[in-house]
Symmetry: C2
Subunit: 195 residues, 2 copies
DNA sequence: CCTACCGATCGGTAGG
DNA sequence: CCTACCGATCGGTAGG
């Protein structure tokens, strides 16, 4: 039924806030800016939300959960295949949520405690997932010996930065970028290519 | 003479502002925050600077110039050697200016026109430098055929993100990270490795 | 969802 | 470099 698919006012607020925070940054975005976009008064926002920061928390944690849900479905067997799948699925989440990703990567530090600590703990756990794959790959001799945290950071930052330049209308499709990302990054890690 | 080496008040303001902007973000940093760090009143800042944004402009353009100066000294002959040198020198500039780099990468959008456009034009020119190396590498058959802008973005974002986690006190030295960065990124690009 | 409004804080100036 | 202060804007509340 159509009425079920129409976004609630709260969802609209969150959606527009995501775009606003991405464009101007959280601190420089005012509740009056947001209200104007929605065509209502600033005071009216507070019938639907508790505070400005609450919106930021929703955006950041929703995105964090989406990343976890996506990566938990990686079920390949070898580290190389796992890393390839993880890279692709991580990029897929970003490309399907470009605005929320930008807020997730750039505005999280404006959260107050205890949300900030919880957020950082989740991020660390997520990074551990990638590090474990790299660790196994090195242990099994598929990847060259390299500092695991360093390799993880280098790979993740390449993917994460795509939110800055990826456009659905660009000449490369989402799948192509995912393929090229994993190829470029993994083949720089594989020890025995062309052997 | 000692008096020549002592930073001017203006330099002190810029230095402390760089750290403040990095930590809190430009928009969330107030002139009263900055004044307090320096132990003076907010109004007193304006004897040395024209505006809050002027400080941001100084930081961003100084860093942009530093990047250009560094990369112009790359004088290797083959694309592979050029790319390796460019990666190392780019990372070197970041690691030697971690605070300013963070502001450069995260706060530039808070500049107003015409500074914003000029800044973005400089960034594009800088990116062209990397793209040209990649272009030559593909043309000469050293690099695999790949979208040049995509490869440039992937490489630069890996290096640029180092400002988020690189610590001079970490277990990897600056030179080691530079070496590993270029190795990880380039060997993912080279077509005929181990041939 | 609105009007009316709050106290706090903002970047910046005047004048010394 | 300070005191004193400006108009503007901030996130948010009361009451309907």
């Amino acid at each position: 039924m159509e009425i079920l698919e129409r976004p609630t006012r709260k969802q609209q607020i969150e959606e527009r806030a995501t775009m606003l925070f991405k464009t101007k940054g959280y601190a420089a975005s005012s509740m009056r800016d947001l209200a104007q976009i929605l065509g209502i008064e600033a005071a009216s926002l507070y019938s639907h939300i508790k505070s400005k920061e609450e919106i930021l928390q929703k955006i950041c944690f929703k995105m964090a959960n989406a990343f976890f849900l996506a990566i938990e479905q990686v079920n390949e067997t070898t580290p190389e295949q796992q890393l390839e799948a993880a890279i692709k699925v991580h990029f897929k989440m970003i490309s399907e949520n470009i605005d929320a990703s930008a807020v997730f990567f750039n505005e999280w530090r404006h959260m107050s405690e205890p949300y900030l600590s919880e957020f950082l703990a989740m991020r660390t756990r997520y990074e551990q997932f990638f590090m474990e794959i790299i660790h196994q790959g090195i242990k099994q001799g598929q990847f060259r010996v390299i500092d695991e945290k360093f390799a993880m950071m280098t790979i993740l930052s390449s993917i994460n930065w795509t939110h800055q330049w990826y456009r659905p209308t660009g000449k490369m499709s989402m799948d192509e970028i995912g393929d090229h990302l994993s190829e470029l990054l993994i083949n720089g890690l594989i020890k025995t290519r062309n052997k």
